[in-house]
């Protein structure tokens, strides 16, 4: 009897141990532009209101790093996110390179979501999945054996720095030709954008993202500038000081780009001297709403905010994306690494199923709702279905 008890006890212990070991880890990196939809889709895929999660940032929608714990069909999962940029994410899963900043399992989490402090416990790890605003053919790993494909559409907008309208009243549009000139040459007189010689005394500087950003790749592809061409960009400090990025460099995250656009242009200085100048940048359409309260239905936005711009004469709205008149958008891709496990693929499938419900938010659309398609990959011609 004692032996039987011991055997039963051992079996129970082994069963318990097996259950603990069976929790599947999935690590997701890549595009920051899609993170709001991605984070909510993860929560839903892992059980919705039962999912326990924590994040770095002020809201889960804006969080680039998080940890999520839940189940799929009764199987336990723990999912980590560390969004770093599209092309960087593709490289990470293709090369299985280790990156830092992942939220450690030791951090607290809750079903309501726990906002972690800046001093959260972090760890280094490799990634299994990557969201990307561009196809892998525009990355430095074009032939990497990655699985996956498009899961949605992400729209972007050019935005002028807060206060640019005071320097250049009525400025509300940028064309692809203007983008090529400004981003190749680094700057231009504002009269080039408005056609008004009176604006020649104000300078517009190019600003934007770094080389690993899918937002940048999508924008440079769509405008015809060229994804692999060198850009000359500036950065704006919180006090308005404008300095040059190293050649071809840019902001590492969309948060930094948003912050720069929100610095009042009236405070801009170069070398300590006040200058009549503003920066031109680009963000996901969801971020435009976040920083300017842009209303896509009317095209209005808050006074004293960054200025969302029309692109080639067309303002951003979901309807204009659907009908093909607004073309500054790209397909959101979800790639999986080579050698992904069956359990991780189960999560991938659940995540893909959960994503469409999140595509009603700002700046994101489902592929089926488009009345057009884009041929030839990112930046290719848009034509009606």
């Amino acid at each position: 009897m004692k032996i039987t008890s011991m055997i039963l006890g051992s079996t129970a212990f082994l069963t318990l141990t097996a259950s603990v070991v069976a929790q599947t880890e999935v690590r997701i990196t890549g595009s920051t532009a899609f993170r709001a939809a991605a984070n909510q889709a993860i929560i839903n895929a892992l059980g919705g209101s039962a999912t326990q999660y924590a994040y770095v940032g002020s809201t889960i929608g804006g969080a680039s790093r998080g940890i999520f714990e839940g189940t799929i069909n009764g199987q336990p999962y723990i999912v980590y996110t560390n969004f770093s940029g599209s092309t960087a994410g593709i490289s990470q899963i293709a090369d299985q390179s280790t990156t830092t900043g992942w939220v450690s399992d030791s951090n607290p989490r809750s079903t309501a979501g726990t906002m972690l402090p800046a001093t959260y416990t972090s760890e280094s790890a490799t990634a299994d999945l990557s969201f990307s605003d561009v196809d892998k053919t525009l990355s430095n790993n074009p032939t990497a054996p990655l699985g996956g494909g498009p899961v949605g559409v992400v729209a972007f907008q050019f935005v002028a720095q807060q206060g640019a309208d005071a320097l250049v009243p009525g400025f509300n549009n940028v064309t692809d030709q203007m983008v090529e000139a400004i981003y190749a040459l680094g700057s231009a007189p504002a009269s080039f954008l408005t056609g008004n010689p009176a604006n020649s005394g104000t300078t517009v500087f190019a600003s934007g993202r770094d080389n690993g950003s899918g937002t940048r790749a999508t924008v440079l592809a769509e405008t015809g500038f060229g994804v692999f061409r060198t850009v000359n960009q500036v950065q704006v400090a919180a006090n308005g000081a404008i300095t040059q990025f190293p050649q071809n460099a840019g902001y590492g995250g969309s948060g930094d780009m948003r912050s720069a656009l929100q610095v009042p242009a009236s405070t801009n200085t170069i070398g300590g001297n006040s200058v009549p100048a503003f920066i031109l940048g680009y963000v996901g359409a969801a971020d435009t709403t976040r920083i300017s309260n842009y209303d896509e239905a009317t095209g209005t936005f808050d006074a004293n905010s960054p200025i969302p711009l029309s692109y080639n004469g067309v303002r951003y709205s979901k309807e204009n994306v659907r009908n093909g008149s607004y073309t500054l958008w790209g397909f959101q891709q979800l790639f999986t690494r080579d050698g992904i496990t069956p359990a991780q693929l189960t999560f991938d499938a659940a995540l893909r199923d959960a994503i469409p419900a999140q595509l009603g938010g700002d700046g994101v659309l489902s592929i089926p709702e488009l009345n057009v398609t884009r041929s030839g990959g990112d930046g290719g011609p848009v034509a009606p279905l």
Binding site: T137, L138, S139, N140, P142, A181, A184, L185, G186, S187, T203, F205, G226, V227, F228, R229, T230, N232, V234, I242, Q244, Q247, N248, I270, V275, A277
Partner: protein
């Protein structure tokens, strides 16, 4: 007024000891001028060959002259034994130190007498120094030098390049990373569907290359210096107007000879050989 024949110039240049000695290994520094090759033929269609001509300033000042190297082995291995006569292989040269603006906010100061966005770029010619001067404005030079930066970046880093024993290096576009492939010699020196040279480096109309179709003796390209502004330029020249500083002669055996523009001091040497000079166009 004197004229220089192509052959005498070559002889004079090759007799002089070269101030620039060909390197055993390909290295590239910001501001150097690169000689680039591509083919429109089948053999080697995915291969770009590069050779370093040295700094633009040295070319400008006549410090680079004589035989710089011989890359016949690489050209033959990649483009076939008939690379010099096939009419398929094209070559040209380009160099720039800084693509930043020389004026306005964040203006970059001149370096060694070259304002920022000074461009050294080739133009085909059949006689030494005989090419028509280019005419490009400051914006053209801004676009061209900006486009060149991506190419120069991998020439400096060596990314995706395979060094050759004769001092050249090759980029295999089939295996290159997208960053290098999309900044290759072929990418920035495209052709129209009709087979003519298209705009090079975004702004250089008609291209910058000469074609190798068996020209007797050697095939020539003039290297022209174009400055966006005269401010800080030394030597100065009209802004936007190309001025030949050197002629590069490529021989059927693959030897590369630099023939400096006569007024840079080598004049005395060639004059001593009884060679007459072409009057430089104003």
């Amino acid at each position: 007024m004197k004229l220089i024949s192509k052959h005498f110039a070559l002889a004079a240049a090759s007799l002089a000891f070269a101030a620039h000695t060909a390197s055993a290994a390909f290295t590239f520094t910001d501001g150097d001028v690169v000689l680039g090759f591509q083919t429109r033929g089948t053999t080697g269609s995915n291969i770009n060959v590069f050779f370093n001509l040295g700094s633009g300033v040295d070319l400008r000042d006549g410090n680079t002259f004589g035989t710089l190297g011989n890359i016949g082995t690489t050209l033959t291995a990649n483009y076939g034994a008939n690379w010099y006569t096939s009419g398929d292989v094209y070559f040209g040269a380009i160099g720039n130190l800084s693509s930043q603006s020389p004026t306005g906010f964040f203006a970059q100061p001149p370096v060694n007498g070259d304002p920022a966005r000074t461009l050294y770029v080739s133009r085909p010619t059949t006689t030494v120094g005989g090419s028509q001067p280019y005419s490009y404005n400051a914006n053209d030079l801004g676009f061209a030098t900006n486009s060149y930066t991506g190419q120069e970046a991998f020439l400096i880093s060596g990314d995706s390049l395979t060094m050759q024993a004769d001092g050249s290096t090759i980029l295999n576009r089939t295996t290159a990373r997208p960053q290098e492939d999309n900044n290759s010699w072929s990418f920035w020196n495209p052709f129209t569907p009709q087979g003519n040279q298209d705009v090079a480096y975004t702004a250089l109309n008609g291209g910058i290359q000469n074609v190798l179709n068996g020209a007797p003796g050697s095939t020539l390209i003039d290297i022209q210096r174009i400055i966006p502004t005269t401010t800080g330029a030394n030597p100065t020249q009209p802004a936007g107007a190309g001025r030949t500083v050197s002629t590069i002669a490529l021989s059927p055996d693959g030897s590369i000879v630099a023939i400096p523009e006569p007024s840079t001091g080598i004049l005395a040497l060639v004059a001593g050989l009884g060679i007459v000079l072409r009057r430089r166009r104003a």
